[in-house]
């Protein structure tokens, strides 16, 4: 009897720990081969045959097709530079410069990878659409209400992810620091 209870206890612990870890690893993303620059994180290896088992399981589960490394690299940000989650009801600015690339796109998604709904039907910018300052830097405003300048509507949703994709770029598996890849700053401001 004691043996049976012990076994059941062990199996319960195993199931909880095992499945919990798997769920956690697949939804939160893993640190293998990640490049983190400021609030941005990219997994360039996920776009190659060298993809790790965790990323492999994660894409099988989400149905995503990761961007191939011969095509470009995608940087994800779900927080501002201080680590606060991005809130669609607040004013968020993305300012600065981007790493060398033929062009880039910046897009807003909800946490499941769907485009953020908004009345303007505008989901992102490309590097050729935005207006820049005289020194070549830019400022993109993410707010629920319309703003002059490079404005992207957040539709007032709770949480979202900003994805900056660099195409035809030297940034990749060999990139380590912000010196190789100067990413724009993400700053949160006042909330509505």
């Amino acid at each position: 009897m004691r043996l049976l209870i012990g076994l059941l206890f062990s199996f319960a612990v195993a199931a909880m720990v095992g499945l919990g870890l798997t769920q956690f690893a697949l939804t939160r993303g893993t640190a293998f081969g990640a490049i983190t620059i400021g609030a941005w994180t990219a997994w360039p290896k996920t776009g190659t045959s060298d993809i790790d088992p965790y990323a492999r399981a994660a894409i099988a589960r989400s149905g995503e097709l990761p961007i191939g490394s011969g095509d470009g690299v995608a940087f994800f940000a779900s927080t501002d530079d201080t680590g606060r989650p991005l809130d669609g009801r607040c004013m968020v600015t993305v300012t600065g410069t981007t790493p060398a690339a033929r062009f880039w796109t910046l897009t807003l998604y909800d946490l499941d990878g769907r485009l953020v709904p908004n009345a303007a039907d505008r989901y992102g910018f490309t590097s050729q659409e935005i207006s820049r300052r005289a020194d070549g830097t830019f400022e993109i405003l993410l707010t629920p209400r319309a703003r002059p300048g490079n404005w992207l509507p957040t539709g007032g949703i709770d949480r979202y992810v900003v994805v900056l994709r660099l195409y035809d770029t030297p940034v990749g598996v060999a990139t380590r620091t912000a010196k190789d890849a100067p990413m724009p700053a993400i700053t949160a401001g006042a909330c509505a």
């Binding site: 612990v13 095992g18 490309t126 195409y167």
Partner: protein, 181 residues
């Protein structure tokens, strides 16, 4: 007390094994992976343009709305595949995904270096069976080896601004993906 700690320890070790096993087995059992999602929309060995993603409807998560996308779902059982993609004015890329969604090869218009990206896709075995002389005449063609007999090819053209999206979609229309006879 010690006995319970031992049972707990055993449970933790077993939990680690369960964790590794589920991570490794999950790709085989996934029912919502990209290949399955596209199977209904895309015929085998032909090209279909994918509808532009919207907040309500997108065939795949995290699609880039600045691109026009077409997909060729391939099956190499009946022979190697020939891919012909004329490049658009802005940017064109071709990405190859194995059955599991692993991106094993990608090339863009600049790397291809000409107005048309031309590729032969085959399995390792089909490549080995190529007659020697044919391989020489095929030297100026790019040969890509697929790790799995089935998979996906994503052809994407860039629309630098919304007004240029129709042009990007038109550029996709003349792409070809078919088995060699």
């Amino acid at each position: 007390m010690i006995r319970w700690l031992l049972w707990l320890l055993g449970g933790l070790v077993l939990g680690g094994i369960v964790h590794l096993a589920t991570v490794l087995l999950l790709p085989r059992t996934a029912t919502q992976d990209a290949y399955t999602r596209l199977a209904a929309a895309a015929p085998v060995n032909g090209i279909v343009p994918l509808p532009a993603p919207t907040p309500d409807e997108a065939l795949l998560p995290f699609m880039d709305p600045a691109f026009a996308t077409a997909v060729c779902r391939y099956d190499l059982a009946s022979g190697p595949l020939q891919l012909r993609v004329p490049v658009s004015q802005a940017y064109t890329s071709v990405s190859f995904y194995a059955r599991s969604g692993v991106a094993y090869y990608a090339i863009n218009d600049r790397a291809a270096g000409r107005r048309i990206i031309e590729l032969d896709l085959m399995t390792t075995q089909q490549r080995a069976e190529l007659p020697d002389d044919e391989e020489i005449t095929a030297a100026d063609r790019l040969i890509v080896e697929s790790p799995t007999p089935t998979g996906l090819i994503l052809i994407r053209t860039f629309g630098p601004e919304p007004g240029l999206m129709p042009m990007a979609r038109r550029a996709l229309a003349s792409a070809q993906c078919r088995t060699q006879s």
